[in-house]
């Protein structure tokens, strides 16, 4: 047992208001509007939030520590479990980081497939956000509509990877396998009807006076605050900051696609709603481009010591069998070094920091998860507003506790 830091355990720092004016209220960890096990300690004056303190860690599973005990390729399935609403983004970010360490070039088709599936993941995640956000506000119907479309996306995921949610489809060096023959047709038929569905949601919500009044001018976050508090993704763009990693620091051949980055100067929950709706339309645009221009070729890098061989080859060629055995039992050594790979996930800037000491297991894997940082802005956005606005604001930063606690 090593040295234990003797920092005193403080009470939640909420002792400023005098006891006869304010009261402390625990919201969560089992509150339905906190989207998981988030506990908010609210100091309230009547209905008005004076201070707010998010208490997290209820879902902490020590994934970063677990990664250090696994081979590089074994970490991929762990990354799905971090953000269970956008598994492909986590897969992608981790794989890109390790590929950067290995300096391994990835075939074009694999990169385009990653873009396609990444954007489908964004749609999937935004659909869950839209449904639950509207449900928090009181518009239950939208949830049923969005989950209908989400089911189509999950079926596509199941078709391509065998899993609905924990896909683990991206591997170091490319994809796990070729997509099934009718995969593109299924995506095409889904994406053909999807823009109408976005209009349908918009018709249900955008003109709905109850919804609009609950969202407009709620949860103000200025551009300066967004940067100071580490907010990224749609909430940052809804505060008027025009920055998107897909366009500004492109990865996985995003530089080859034409799309707009929606921004809003409204700085409120309504702005975030509009930005995400428009992002869904832009994702459809990107998916259409991938379907039109999908290059031919392999989906795995030509690196027999890193990428598992095809089953067929493994059964017929001695060399492949040896490589397969070596990768599975000993992993593969990754050159020493440290890299940070950032991608634009559904919720904002995700980053994987991977440190290698030259062995087959990562020395350190750290994830920068967008909503972990965005949660810090919750107090700024909720102060001086009523408790019911807290629910709207939580929905607007689209938190997933799995990725906050890891």
């Amino acid at each position: 047992m090593t040295e234990v830091a003797g920092t005193p355990i403080l009470e939640a720092p909420l002792a400023t208001g005098s006891a006869d004016q304010t009261m402390v209220l625990n919201m969560g960890p089992q509150h339905p509007a906190t989207h998981g096990v988030l506990r908010l300690v609210l100091e309230i004056d009547g209905e008005i939030v004076v201070r707010l303190y998010p208490e997290i860690g209820y879902l902490h599973t020590g994934i970063e520590k677990t990664c250090e005990a696994k081979f590089y390729q074994q970490v991929v399935p762990l990354t799905d479990r971090i953000d269970y609403l956008s598994p492909m983004h986590n897969n992608l970010c981790y794989c890109l980081a390790v590929e950067k360490l290995l300096e391994l070039p990835i075939p074009d088709k694999a990169q385009w497939m990653r873009v396609l599936l990444g954007e489908l993941t964004r749609l999937n995640s935004h659909l869950v956000w839209l449904g639950t956000h509207a449900m928090d506000i009181g518009a239950l119907t939208v949830f049923l509509y969005t989950f209908r479309e989400r089911e189509d996306i999950l079926r596509i995921f199941e078709h391509v990877s065998g899993q609905r949610m924990m896909t683990s489809y991206f591997r170091i060096g490319g994809l796990a396998m070729e997509a099934p023959l009718d995969f593109f047709d299924r995506v095409r038929s889904f994406i053909k009807t999807f823009p109408e569905k976005i209009d349908e949601y918009s018709n249900l919500l955008t003109g709905n006076p109850i919804f609009v009044n609950r969202l407009q001018n709620v949860g103000h976050l200025s551009a300066a605050d967004a940067i100071a508090l580490g907010v990224t993704g749609p909430p940052m763009r809804a505060s008027g900051i025009d920055f998107d990693l897909r366009r500004d620091m492109p990865y996985s051949s995003y530089e080859k696609f034409q799309f707009d980055v929606p921004i809003s100067q409204r700085c409120d929950v309504w702005g975030r709603y509009l930005v995400r709706l428009e992002e869904m339309r832009q994702s459809v645009r990107i998916i259409n481009q991938t379907l039109e221009g999908m290059p031919e070729g392999p989906v795995k890098a030509d690196a027999p010591k890193i990428v598992l061989p095809d089953r067929e080859k493994m059964k017929t060629q001695m060399e492949s069998l040896i490589h397969h055995f070596k990768i599975v039992t000993e992993g593969f050594a990754v050159p020493a070094g440290e890299v940070y790979q950032g991608i634009e996930s559904s919720r904002g800037q995700m980053g994987y920091y991977v440190v290698s000491d030259g062995t087959a297991k990562p020395y350190r894997v750290h994830m920068r998860n967008p909503t972990f940082a965005s949660l810090q802005a919750l107090e700024t956005m909720c102060q001086g507003r009523s408790i019911s606005d807290v629910v709207a604001v939580i929905g607007s930063i689209d938190i997933v506790l799995g990725e906050i606690d890891r």
Partner: protein
Amino acid sequence: MNETLPDRESVLREKSGHPAVAAILTWKPEALTDARWDREELTLTIAREEIIAAARVVQQAGYNFLEDVTAVDWFPAQPRFQISYHIISHPHKERIRLRVMIDQADSSLDSITPVWPSANYYEREVFDLFGIRFDGHPNLRRIMMPDDWTGHPLRKDYPVEGYR
């Protein structure tokens, strides 16, 4: 194969025009104890006592968004802990990494929350999982582990299975 610049001299020779390097050199060249350019990523090692000032300098140079703060435990090597700050620049569309090395003996460091308030959670996480104390942090409590937890799980001498 990308070019690698392994040490301070080579980075200063090849990258002296880089906005972050130039800003630090104008401010205080001796605060930059080491540097590395590897896989298109720039790592600048900063003297431990200068981290707040260095953060301000790179912030002025356009590196306006603190993306992440984390640590690496190099146990049993000395100095033991490496703190990595990843800072992104919206105008330059580029990322740099500041690095501070600290010993086990005095595992404490100035908090950069005065420069970027968003460092609050990241530093709490590093404190919780590595046991590194940040001086001047507004609320240095455990964030992931229970408040009464003993030990710091991400240290290399803490077993993966825990102590049970």
